[in-house]
Subunit: 351 residues, 2 copies
């Protein structure tokens, strides 16, 4: 490439955007201009990127002039409308929303697992998976390569910041409200103290809410179906059996998952730990005797997915039970977007 490619960050002021700007300052710098884009509400703000304040510009067609790669971290509807606009102007779009993840002509990429899928992108759009999927797929993909994956049963422990800045702020407010109160003495205590649930379907502080996403057929949520569809697509396993139950818990940042994975071939605990230890983007932290297992709090702000509680199922020699944690804003969003964008930046291009 003769010049450094120019990057637009669309949604630079959101929860994912903020972490993305932080990563841009930390990672090896491959970019020419970095342009920050958001809604007109934020235009004129000047977040710091690579040590310098950069003015946020509103999302318009002109925002893509001279841009080579754009990462989108905006709501689904905004991506659905604007990613094609950017792509039509020759920009490679890397999108974090759900708008394109299951589209047949859009690759869904996790560089550690299926980097090659990036090459075929007829619409000029590449999608990044949901942060729940990203909290497990590098680990599950490595085990699949060895044992042949047949089925996943997943239960999630999802952080409030999965609902962006609003979700994070709502949990902080709710936690401050309940901090001094004797919650948990009788039914509905929290509803008496927390009038505003924020983006959650019920009070979240000191509670668990078994609902994320929107309603789909059969009582499933869009996020539960997403884990199924995305795992199948990333692993090229269209018949993979997947059942997921998605639950929001009062954690600010980092999703956790309990995963029961069934394989074609027999597993052992030690061998599974070895495979996971060798897998790119995965850290094994698994010694309960020494109190070592990942908790969301210990994973915040780190790049990899952390795996602990690796056990061979007692009644099924070809199954493993695992507990995984991944920072939903980092590998679950900003980092995966940037990894993809950097791969695009490194591609040979017409001069």
């Amino acid at each position: 490439m003769t010049r450094r490619p120019n990057l637009a960050v669309v949604g630079a002021t959101g929860a994912v955007g903020e972490v993305l700007l932080g990563l841009l300052s930390l990672r090896q710098d491959v970019w020419g201009e970095i342009r920050l884009v958001a809604s007109p509400r934020s235009a004129g703000r000047k977040p710091v990127v690579r040590g310098e304040p950069v003015e946020v510009v509103p999302l318009t067609e002109a925002a893509f002039d001279g841009i080579d790669v754009a990462v989108f971290a905006v709501p689904d509807v905004v991506s659905a409308q604007w990613a094609p606009v950017a792509a039509a102007r020759g920009v490679v779009v890397v999108d974090d929303s759900a708008a394109f993840r299951t589209a047949e002509d859009v690759p869904l990429v996790v560089p550690e697992v299926n980097a090659a899928a990036l090459r075929i992108r007829p619409r000029g759009i590449v999608a990044s998976p949901a942060s729940t999927t990203l909290a497990m797929i590098a680990a599950v993909g490595a085990l699949h390569a060895e044992y042949g994956l047949v089925e996943l049963v997943v239960a999630s422990y999802q952080a409030a910041s999965g609902e962006g800045r609003l979700g994070e702020a709502a949990l902080r407010e709710q936690t401050a409200l309940v901090g001094g109160v004797e919650i948990g003495r009788q039914t509905g205590d929290l509803r008496a103290v927390i009038a505003d649930h924020g983006p959650f379907a019920a009070p979240l502080a000191l509670n668990a809410v078994p609902w994320t996403g929107t309603l789909a057929d059969g009582g499933w949520s869009s996020e539960e179906l997403g884990i199924r569809d995305e795992s199948r697509k990333i692993l090229s396993l269209p018949a993979l059996k997947v059942s997921a139950t998605c639950v929001r818990i009062p954690v600010v940042r980092t999703h956790a998952l309990a995963v029961h994975a069934v394989f074609e071939r027999e597993v052992t605990q030690e061998h599974a730990q070895e495979i996971l230890g060798d897998a790119p983007g995965v850290v094994v932290y698994d010694n309960p005797e020494a109190g070592e297992f990942p908790t969301p709090n210990d994973v915040v702000g780190t790049d990899p997915v952390w795996v602990g509680r690796v056990r061979r199922a007692l009644d099924e020699p070809a199954a493993l039970d695992l507990f995984l944690c991944g920072d939903n804003l980092r590998k679950g969003a900003a980092l995966n977007l940037l990894q993809i964008a950097e791969l695009v930046a490194g591609e040979p291009r017409p001069a």
Copy 2:
């Protein structure tokens, strides 16, 4: 029975004990004397039972004089030592600890599921299951009766009061500490603010800790194995396949479980909801469109197990996915103990 039987509550001052005393004041009164027993630390305290203060006496052999039934809600080691002492004096012991749950000559009883097991108790001891098992077993048992259960995959969302008064107090203190603090910006934030984890293996406020119980073989925890062993025993299914991952979350009271249940026969969502709706001790609260699914906060202080998010697995017509909540101190402990004790009290006895 010619006279009303006398009841001893051993562990009357604990988290389970407190709820038990409350229930004794609420339920139909079948008891003669109610004697309160705890450690010498609490002797002399006078909690109110049935509207009257009753003095706590220390745990000694004499504490069982004239007693017919004793419910034990004390640590495992205390039960292991004292339940046989009480039984040797002719007292029927109903024990809430893990000391006897898997003993072959001790029945493990959930009245809605296997009341008949109560009859054969060679040691004069009856065990009550763990609160995790109790959060699902009435619902799972009803489904088993209809469909034939083959396998359970369970992920728990367990409340702090599962660790008794100390656990509850620790979560309250931790929550007050983090209420005003910007936790979740970087790795280990909570460890900087919360020095004392209480009975948990890591800070619990705004976190999730994938560990409850003690370490067993193969990386499993005693509580995970307990769910397996207890489900098999209560349902008389010695070959039932069970995988559980137990996780503590920052909720004061009420355990929740995500359950993937595989059956011999095909299921439908509607029929499963009907069966659960007819099951004793189970309430179906399942209409996500209207925001209806159980959360721990809505279940505190209620008797039944609440079931929501009932879905037929998409890739397995004989499997269901469910989300269940049960008050760990009520059905998970005090209520189940009292239900068993009341059944014993109602048995025909030698005059």
